[in-house]
């Protein structure tokens, strides 16, 4: 089933590219593919049994036996929700791309390939396969930003590519070091087996292996000061790509941190936790400070992502010392934050994109009074914004409170400082709303239409999970719990 | 005797190298190259004559010593042959260049750079 999930978009991409259809047909094919994909992921999620735990839907085949590489896919509680998230965002991304007119076939092919690659990342249980999908996602992203982007798109696309690539270079070395640290018969890239290995004596200091993974994931997440690719990439990317980038690509970093750094190196994680906590605070506050100076709507949202990803790091940092007794509340919060931020920031970018489509500006001072012109879009923005600032009944709140609860007993001061980020979030979200949406309606915007049904559908696809999981998060937390529990056990809980 | 010859060879080699690196005329460079190959041959011949063939150190292979002793001279022979071929090609190139351009100064052959 996971093979189908990972390859449906990829085959869809080939299909879209191969069929020389009019733009409209192409869009419909792409939509059909992502909807089918979403159905698959929902089905997978529904069938996934949280109480049973462990890895499910595992498929295993030798691939390059000489190098010990397997084709090994499967999901556990950690990846299942993220796959669902990717399915959801895929639909939103296609819907929000409805107005793309430039090289439509190529555009949707790349977009679907991107989705498929990310699916692969979440589904892979073999490190090399994981790495392959991890890298595979670069090329679609590069093209999507570079061709369909705006502004300094070349610069941004290249920056994205280089940052990620250099980061993953370290991961690559770490993967190999991990592999060769074990005696010949026991070498494996199988993550499910590696979790149970003793990592205390590797061929290089374990902390270096840990650090290699950390760097790769820190770039992706991103953790300051490795974040500067993100605002540029977001700013210049087309809407759908921003949605995917913020929605799932960043999540790959957090997922990696949880799956590998936390899952395989509990001791190193515990040792690095104070550093992570400090970085998390920096991320949250520094990101928020910068947000408050932005005048470009997308850049603003991008930095808010940086700030919010700090909460993920903070939750993971809870693994220091106290996580075992806390049974991973913080880790759960971090995982949940991955999901919720995916929907929330995805929605923010959808809305920003819709605004840009109409107003052709992202410069906030040029806006104002949009709420009267496009109430649906404004409502979408407000929902996303409020969820982003952690308003209860939206999923953002649940994740953040869990992060705080999980980490406060371990790093009280850091958590308190990071929690202040929530106040800052209120500041920048509401200030932005005030500047962009409210105020007297302007003449120049008087002809702008509100969201079309397609746009509304794109927003709705994301709004539904925000509220559903905000009001009743148990379906999500139970699954995440099943995924985090082994990590917690690894941490000694 | 071995070391003397080797030093002569080293001096010749370095003179040749100097020539290769410092002469402007393509043919002068080719001549310098020949000096380098000569230096190599001097060394090979010296080793062939004065250094103990490996076969002598392995009792079982002693009757094969001749082959080992003459290997150096053989290689030197091939060096001469190959050098001849190289020179032939080099001269062909010089002629081809001389037909197309005024100068066969190596310094002027710098269309390809950076």
């Amino acid at each position: 089933m996971l093979t189908a999930i990972a390859f449906t978009p990829i085959i869809g991409a080939a299909l879209v590219f191969a069929v020389r259809a009019p733009a409209r047909t192409t869009r419909l094919i792409a939509l059909a593919v992502v909807v089918a994909e979403l159905a698959l992921t929902i089905w997978m999620y529904a069938v996934f049994s949280a109480p049973q735990g462990g890895y499910q839907f595992v498929q295993r085949a030798d691939w390059v036996p000489a190098a010990g590489v397997q084709y090994l896919v499967g999901v556990d509680g950690l990846s299942a929700p993220l796959i669902l998230l990717n399915g959801i965002l895929g639909v939103a991304a296609v819907l929000v791309s409805w107005r793309v007119e430039l090289r439509v076939r190529e555009y949707f092919a790349w977009l679907l390939l991107l989705q498929g690659a990310v699916m692969g990342v979440f589904a892979s249980l073999d490190l090399i396969l994981f790495f392959i999908f991890w890298e595979l996602e670069l090329i679609p992203m590069f093209f999507l930003i570079s061709v369909w982007g705006t502004g300094r798109r070349d610069y941004s696309a290249m920056k994205f590519l280089l940052f990620t690539f250099i980061g993953s270079a370290f991961m690559f070395a770490a993967i190999l070091a991990l592999y060769f640290s074990f005696p010949a018969g026991e070498r494996t890239f199988d993550m499910t087996a590696l979790i149970w290995k003793d990592m205390s004596s590797l061929i290089v200091p374990t902390s270096l292996v840990f650090g290699g993974f950390l760097i790769a994931f820190a770039v992706k997440l991103p953790i300051a000061p490795l974040h500067t690719w993100l605002p540029d990439a977001h700013t210049d990317a087309p809407t759908a790509v921003s949605v995917m980038l913020a929605g799932v690509l960043l999540k790959m970093g957090g997922y990696g941190l949880l799956r590998i750094n936390a899952g395989m190196f509990p001791d190193q994680l515990a040792a690095a936790a104070p550093l992570l906590a400090a970085l998390a605070v920096v991320n949250v506050l520094y990101g928020a400070f910068i947000v408050l100076r932005q005048t470009d709507l997308k850049r603003l949202v991008a930095y808010s992502s940086v700030s919010h990803m700090g909460f993920v790091v903070l939750g993971i940092a809870s693994a220091g010392a106290g996580a075992a007794q806390l049974n991973g509340v913080g880790l759960n919060g971090a995982a949940l934050q991955l999901f919720t931020h995916g929907t929330i920031t995805g929605l923010l970018f959808v809305v920003v994109g819709l605004v840009y489509d109409r107003a052709h500006t992202r410069h906030i001072p040029d806006m104002g009074g949009l709420a009267g012109r496009m109430p649906l879009i404004a409502a979408g923005f407000m929902i996303a914004g409020l969820a982003s600032l952690g308003l209860p009944t939206t999923s953002g709140f649940v994740a953040e409170i869990m992060v705080f609860l999980g980490t406060f007993p371990v790093y009280g001061l850091a958590t308190a400082l990071a929690a202040f980020g929530v106040v800052l979030a209120a500041g920048y979200i509401l200030w932005t709303a005030q500047r962009a949406l409210f105020g007297p309606p302007r003449e120049r915007w008087s002809a702008l239409p509100d969201a079309s049904p397609i746009d509304a559908a794109a927003m709705a696809v994301l709004i539904v999970p925000i509220f559903v999981f905000g009001v009743y998060p148990a379906p999500l937390t139970d699954v995440f719990e099943a995924g985090v529990a082994p990590i917690v056990r690894g941490l000694g809980g | 005797m071995l070391e003397r010859l080797l030093i002569v060879s080293a001096v010749l080699f370095c003179i040749g190298l100097y020539g290769v690196l410092s002469r402007r005329h393509v043919i002068a460079i080719l001549m310098s190259l020949e000096i380098m190959f000569n230096a190599v041959n001097v060394a090979l011949v010296a080793f062939s004559r004065y250094a103990a063939p490996a076969a002598l150190r392995f009792p079982g292979a002693a009757e094969d010593a001749e082959r080992f002793a003459l290997a150096g001279q053989t290689l030197a022979l091939f060096v001469i042959v190959v050098a001849a071929a190289e020179v032939a090609l080099g001269l062909a190139l010089v002629i081809a260049i001389a037909r197309r351009r005024d100068s066969i100064n190596i310094s002027d052959l710098n269309l390809l750079r950076r």
Binding site: K159, V329, P392, T393, L430 | L109
Partner: protein
């Protein structure tokens, strides 16, 4: 006892009403829009009816004893189990009744007041369903807050209350002032909520103690049960954190600045949210967790002192304001200070009693102000005067509310204020004597500004209303409105009359010194399982005297104009400016801290650092990459001998390197 499902319906009915308004009525046919008002009123009224039933059921009993339900849980055994439930006890029942009751009344008033929205040329009815949706949802959130079983559940509704307050303040989002005020309200209260959150986290830090007792550290009854075991240290920090949240929501110093600005919302909103209910949530929170606060003398004193100080401080600002709603807003802040003062000296029942009474008379005052505005289309008292001539009902309502607020015997305000003063007088904490005098001073000022308000608005000569306001000072939307000399419609006056009845009688009737027919003596206190407060004739006399003195001074200054403060010259003008500028606190917060220190300081520096340094380093690395390559390419001169030299150099360097190695 009320079945649990019915208790949930108290929240559910307004919620449903709100969802119908925003989800069903608004997007569809315009013809349905007028229905929104009735839907909203019906939902809230239903909640009110159920609340009354709950009050009835709670009488003589304690907690209704509903078990909480699992919401979600993480981390198994001693991880984090979130439960939700209804905590229906006398305190929440009476609060729910007040909230839903006042809300119902205000929504009825809004049927008339918001009518002008529906008449507006463009947009027609579009804002009407939105308004009632927000109102209903706000009510639901408030009721949810009141009935919350779990501290986090409470926090959830707490935030939602903040959200709807934000939406309602910014209801006219095209007005920059309204949008700014809404944002300010949300952010300032959120600073307080930050403390609230830390308080919750701090409690969770001590989950071990709870676990030892088999309790969940988030459930309110559990907290109250465990409070005595936690010790003063734990209680202090937890209580102070929670109090920070309460202070934010209840606009206590230093987080009070948002409330006067919040008057940018529609007047019924001000009356419901910023007078009667939401701002009382802080008081309710402290009362709800009073068992925790009690454990810490330091926390109690802090609450009392902040309350007492705010009572005076806000009242002082009320003395000089010219905007009728702002006067009332400062008054609200001041009265909330009273309530905290009462809590701080250990009298939660008294605080709740004042809250109860205050809800009626303050709501009434706001509705009166709205009613006046409906006629003169300005809130500036300098352009009013003599309005009583054509608005007798409104005048009477305002008079009743004002007298009650001023604490004139025997109106409801008198009784609760007297109990507060009595509690402070009799309080044993170190802060009690201080806050008693503060309270007394505040009583004086209250009487002064109340009478100033009434006199400036209703008495004397009419000074022109909106027509006299300089054009540029008018509210943009209302720039073209004109004064209509007429009383408000019945749909507006009726709620005022209803509230006036309460403003007169609620104080005496609900907690009377003697039994009144079916109502036993000290019903309110006993209902909350509190001891009846002592009635001291001395304290009562002093407060009445002070209030009368304040009233008299106001009458001399604004009624008969026998004295003029202008005679005091420079100190007066300085004081006036100080008060008009609200002690420059807004300037301090917004201009100095937010704009200069943060926005042009810290944030600018961060942004600069990010662009120049962090990104600069990345770009520099790229620059080095490109130019390093370019520089290395310079060696590629095209000279074959340079290449040969490189080869030789390579050989020589490696050889020499190894020769030096041995």
């Amino acid at each position: 006892m009320l079945p649990e499902a019915a208790a949930w319906l108290i929240i559910g009915l307004p919620l449903l009403a709100g969802l119908i308004c925003i989800g069903a009525l608004r997007p569809w046919r315009r013809g349905l829009w007028p229905l929104a008002g009735y839907v909203g009123v019906a939902g809230t009224a239903g909640a009110f009816a159920l609340s009354l039933a709950a009050v009835n059921g709670a009488m003589g009993q304690g907690d209704a004893g509903y078990e909480p339900h699992r919401w979600f849980a993480v981390g198994g055994r001693d991880g984090f189990a979130m439960t939700v439930g209804v905590l229906l006890d006398p305190l929440s029942a009476i609060m729910a009744a007040v909230v839903s009751g006042v809300s119902a009344v205000v929504q009825v008033f809004s049927l008339g007041y918001m009518k002008k929205e529906s008449d507006a040329e463009n947009g027609a009815w579009s804002d009407y369903p939105r308004y009632f949706a927000y109102m209903s949802l706000f009510t639901a959130a408030m009721l949810g807050l009141v009935l919350a079983y779990n501290l986090i559940q409470l926090f959830v509704f707490w935030e939602l209350v903040g959200l709807f307050s934000y939406l309602l303040i910014g209801f006219w989002h095209h007005r920059p002032a309204a949008a700014a005020a809404a944002k300010k309200a949300f952010i300032v209260t959120r600073i307080g909520d930050f403390g609230f959150l830390l308080g919750i986290l701090y409690l969770f830090l001590h989950r071990g103690e709870f676990a030892a007792l088999g309790l969940n550290p988030f459930e309110i009854p559990a907290i109250l049960e465990a409070a005595p075991m936690l010790g003063a240290g734990v209680a202090t920090w937890a209580a102070l954190g929670l109090f920070a949240g309460a202070a934010g929501k209840s606009a206590q110093f230093p987080l009070h600045t948002w409330l006067p600005d919040a008057m940018e919302g529609p007047t019924p909103v001000s009356s419901l949210i910023h007078a009667a209910t939401m701002v009382a949530a802080g008081v309710f929170l402290v009362a709800r967790l009073f068992g925790l606060f009690e454990q810490s003398a330091a926390a109690m004193d802090t609450v009392a002192l902040i309350g007492g100080f705010t009572a005076v401080f806000a009242a002082a600002m009320g003395l000089a304001a010219n905007d009728i709603k702002r006067v009332l807003a400062f008054s609200t802040v001041s009265q909330l200070g009273y309530m905290f003062l009462a809590l701080g000296v250990g009298a939660p029942g008294v605080a709740m009693f004042h809250l109860f009474n205050h809800a009626f008379f303050k709501c009434l005052l706001f509705l009166s102000a709205g009613s006046v505005h409906h006629s003169v289309h300005t809130f500036d008292m300098r352009y009013m005067g003599g309005v009583r001539k054509w608005m007798p009902a409104t005048y009477l309502a305002a008079l009743v509310g004002g007298l009650s607020l001023a604490g004139i015997f025997p109106l409801s305000g008198f009784w609760s204020k007297d109990e507060i003063l009595g509690a402070a007088w009799g309080g044993e904490s170190a802060a009690a004597p201080v806050v008693f005098w503060l309270a007394l001073a505040a009583a004086f000022m209250t009487a002064f500004y109340v009478f100033r308000l009434i006199l400036m608005t209703f008495h004397g000569e009419f000074r022109g209303g909106v027509d006299a306001v300089p054009y540029e000072e008018r509210i943009p939307d209302e720039a073209h409105h004109h004064v209509h000399r007429r009383e408000s419609p019945l749909v507006m006056t009726l709620p005022m009359i209803l509230l006036a009845v309460f403003a007169i009688g609620s104080g005496f009737a609900a907690n009377s010194l003697v039994a009144l027919g079916p109502i036993p003596a000290h019903w309110f206190s006993h209902f909350l399982h509190e001891d009846a407060p002592d009635f001291s004739i001395g304290v009562a006399g002093a407060s009445t005297a002070v209030a009368l003195a304040g009233a008299a001074l106001a009458a001399l200054a604004y009624g008969t104009r026998t004295i003029s403060f202008d005679r005091f010259g420079a100190p007066w003008r300085f004081g006036g400016r100080l008060l008009a500028q609200r002690f420059y606190l807004d300037a301090l917060y917004e201009d100095l801290i937010v704009r200069r220190v943060l926005h042009r300081g810290l944030f600018l520096a961060s942004d600069w650092f990010d662009r120049r340094i962090v990104d600069g380093v990345a770009d520099l690395a790229g620059w080095f990459g490109r130019n390093g390559g370019r520089a290395a390419a310079q060696l590629q001169t095209g000279q074959v001998q340079v290449y040969g030299a490189a080869v030789s150099m390579g050989a020589a360097v490696i050889l020499i390197f190894y020769l030096l190695q041995r």
